[in-house]
Symmetry: C2
Subunit: 458 residues, 2 copies
């Protein structure tokens, strides 16, 4: 027998698609100052759709720029409260000429909806709205209390929402957050992401000479800040990727045996990962750890670039007065960013090359996140996800950060159910971004049934 929610979604497929297309036609590119009006239109579209779905207290916060959209429905006393997050801004569509159909004219081909933002994140955000509509239509009410917080600056760093969450813990209080901004591990495989690495992003600036010097006249006697950074940074990790900063692995914990076993069951093919994703001659990294462990459960140090010297066409024989490296540490849960920063500062002080001054500037620091798989929301989500997709849910982590998840954990003490319905080849941030329509409809069903069953928890 078909579940009534499934039946409702089936009956309304065409309309759900048309509404999403309307949303996708708004070019709400947050990086583009010319698009301010479109950002506003997208925020208003979100607000209107929430009102129509029955949410209350709909408001645009910070409406003069890229508004946050807040809404709630709080008439289920004794039931848990779920905080739904999404973002309505999108990446720029460049390069335009690489798109098979225009990025802001959504087009369905082979069961996929092609448009900028279709998967990241308008299509996924809109599933939450349609799940609420479906629940009200089928149940006549909502099974849980709901709060929505939808932002318009995710693609440009999300500073306002982080501030808003930090400043409004009471208003946003919830038992669990629902974040649909990730992907299934593979097509048809129900996937919950329960761990994220943290990120410390740093600038390391070396100064030597008072001004740029000619390397012919001074090379051999004057300190060279570019080489100074090279000397210093080469010491931070060895050729196998092991970080040599004393104490840095003290708080690194291995994944639980069950989690590790689950990773080993994933259809991960190292050869294919190397060939189709990385494309280098071979993979690198710490010996004794699988690739997924290295990416999901081990800290990593990367240098992203060194600026200040000469990198243009041709030759310039400069010893620059200063040079700045952009570096980052990926952290695993339990590593304290402040402790890592302090260890790095000490390491830099002890290894600063002769004749130089080295300054470390912290651009951002966020810890890793690990969600307890035994939390009721996670248990229900895993069960429902498996029911809808017809196979057991896998638990994965992500090596990157989803800053909002860290903010919810840190400021609200709320675990996030990272239940995303994208696919690995959706082309986020790339031309021809798509979202699989089957996943759109199954996502609405899964979210609605998750909220329904989570409300039945006692």
């Amino acid at each position: 027998m078909t579940h009534p929610i499934d039946a409702y979604v089936e009956r309304n497929k065409e309309r759900f698609l048309e509404e999403l297309k309307e949303f996708l036609r708004i070019p709400s590119v947050s990086t583009d100052p010319e698009r301010r009006g479109d950002i506003q239109r997208a925020a208003e579209f979100v607000a209107a759709s929430l009102r129509q779905a029955g949410l209350e207290h709909v408001e645009l916060i910070g409406a003069e720029k890229f508004p946050l959209v807040y809404a709630d429905w709080l008439h289920a006393p004794g039931k848990p409260t779920v905080l739904c997050y999404g973002h309505y801004d999108v990446q720029p569509p460049d390069p335009l000429e690489a798109w098979a159909s225009p990025p802001f004219e959504p087009e369905v081909r082979d069961g996929n909806l092609y448009a900028r933002g279709s998967a990241d994140d308008k299509g996924q955000m809109y599933m939450h709205v349609k799940a609420v509509e479906a629940l009200r239509a089928v149940l006549g009410t909502l099974p849980v209390n709901l709060k929505f917080l939808v932002e318009g600056e995710e693609e440009i760093g999300g500073a306002p929402i982080a501030r808003y969450v930090a400043e409004n813990p009471e208003k946003l209080r919830a038992d669990a957050a629902l974040v649909s901004d990730t992907a299934l591990y593979a097509e048809g495989m129900p996937t919950l992401c329960v761990g994220l690495r943290g990120l410390i992003y740093l600038e390391v600036e070396a100064s030597g000479p008072a001004r740029d010097l000619h390397s012919g006249l001074y090379g051999g006697a004057a300190p060279n800040p570019v080489f100074g950074l090279i000397e210093l940074l080469a010491k931070v990790k060895d050729a196998q990727g092991v970080i040599r900063i004393p104490g840095i692995y003290d708080d690194v914990q291995p994944p639980a045996p069950a989690e590790k076993a689950s990773w080993e069951s994933l259809p991960f093919d190292e050869g294919e990962f190397l060939r189709t994703e990385v494309g280098s001659a071979k993979l690198t990294g710490e010996r004794g750890y699988s690739v997924l462990e290295r990416i999901w459960a081990r800290p990593a140090f990367e240098v992203h670039g060194i600026g200040g010297g000469f990198t243009g066409a041709g030759a310039k024989t400069v010893i620059p007065a200063t040079a700045t490296a952009k570096v980052s540490f990926r952290l695993v849960p339990k590593q304290d960013p402040e402790k890592v920063i302090a260890s790095f500062r000490k390491f830099v002080a002890e290894n600063t090359p002769e004749g130089m001054r080295v300054e470390v500037r912290v651009l951002s620091a966020a810890p890793g996140v690990l969600v307890d798989p035994e939390h009721p929301a996670i248990r229900v989500a895993a069960r429902v996800f498996g029911e809808v997709f017809g196979r057991p849910t896998v638990f994965i982590r992500d090596g990157a950060s989803v800053p909002i998840v860290g903010d919810f954990a840190m400021h609200l003490g709320v675990p996030s159910v990272m239940m995303g319905f994208g696919l690995p080849d959706d082309g986020l941030h790339a031309p021809n971004e798509k979202y699989c329509l089957k996943n759109y409809y199954q996502g609405i069903v899964t979210i609605a049934r998750f909220l329904e069953q989570y409300g039945q928890q006692t």
Copy 2:
């Protein structure tokens, strides 16, 4: 009794200054495509002044772009032939607002002539022309055979003159070249530069992933070309600047005892060099060598920059597909550039980090130059220089390259008398470039008397 040449120069000072001012008013900036007409005017000014001084066969070579100006006078059979070199193009004057008087409106203040090109190299090149005029006026003829080769692309790399010299050894045959494009070691101190370091300029490109990767998703397992270059380049030299490439010091010869003794007699103050020129916390470099030895007589390896990663404002967590370093080796005389390049390629191949490909591209390669201080032209130059300035001539080297000197040595087998009259604080390539008028007049005298006495050699 005043030397007749000195008297002639004294009588014609005002005119010599006015003529130079006229030359300096032509904004012959070779880096600026808008200045092509001015470059042409400057070349024609040079040609006319050579004709007026009595030179023959005056021609503009490659006249469609930045012409070389050639001229000769070959009526002194049995006498040596001197090849006079200079350049009539200048550096751009930016930043304009930093000039006390406009860069192309020459102005005399405190005995200095302020204008772009006054010292580098129009003022010095024009001394050669006026020395010829003075000799003909005083002697009625010229004491040596003369060839002039004056270029218009020195500030943009000088490729055409290098080609012309390589292709016309017979036409340019000479016993010595005279190059006035350097400076006195200190005010009032007659100085001959007899050694230059060579330069190999290289690009080293590391490739790893097939495309730029997100460091969250791949950091810890994918090779990072920026870090790969850092690992590789950190091995090229140690913290004291000693290059670790096997065999690289094989052909490095210490300066002759007399040369070293001469350097020790120079008014070089390491503390002042550190404070006023370099400005770093301390100097660096090979232990057991003085600063001048390190700069003049030791090879050096420098990294000028690493491009390809992220160096803009803010944070980008990229693992770039490729990264390119700009590096150089300064060579001392006797080091063979080809041998050094081969050693470096071998070192790179043996030290390429796992998972990367590294390509080495040679942008330029020129050996160091050492002029024999016992060559008759050098002996005469040193004697005359000392006579005019009233103190013994010092022999120095320069850590940088003067490519034309290498070309003359390599293609013509001709040693260069590097007799320059600039001062260390002339501000070449900087705002408020100046040339000391006393040095301009003394330079004309010194050059004329050098040619006179060199012609008396048997």
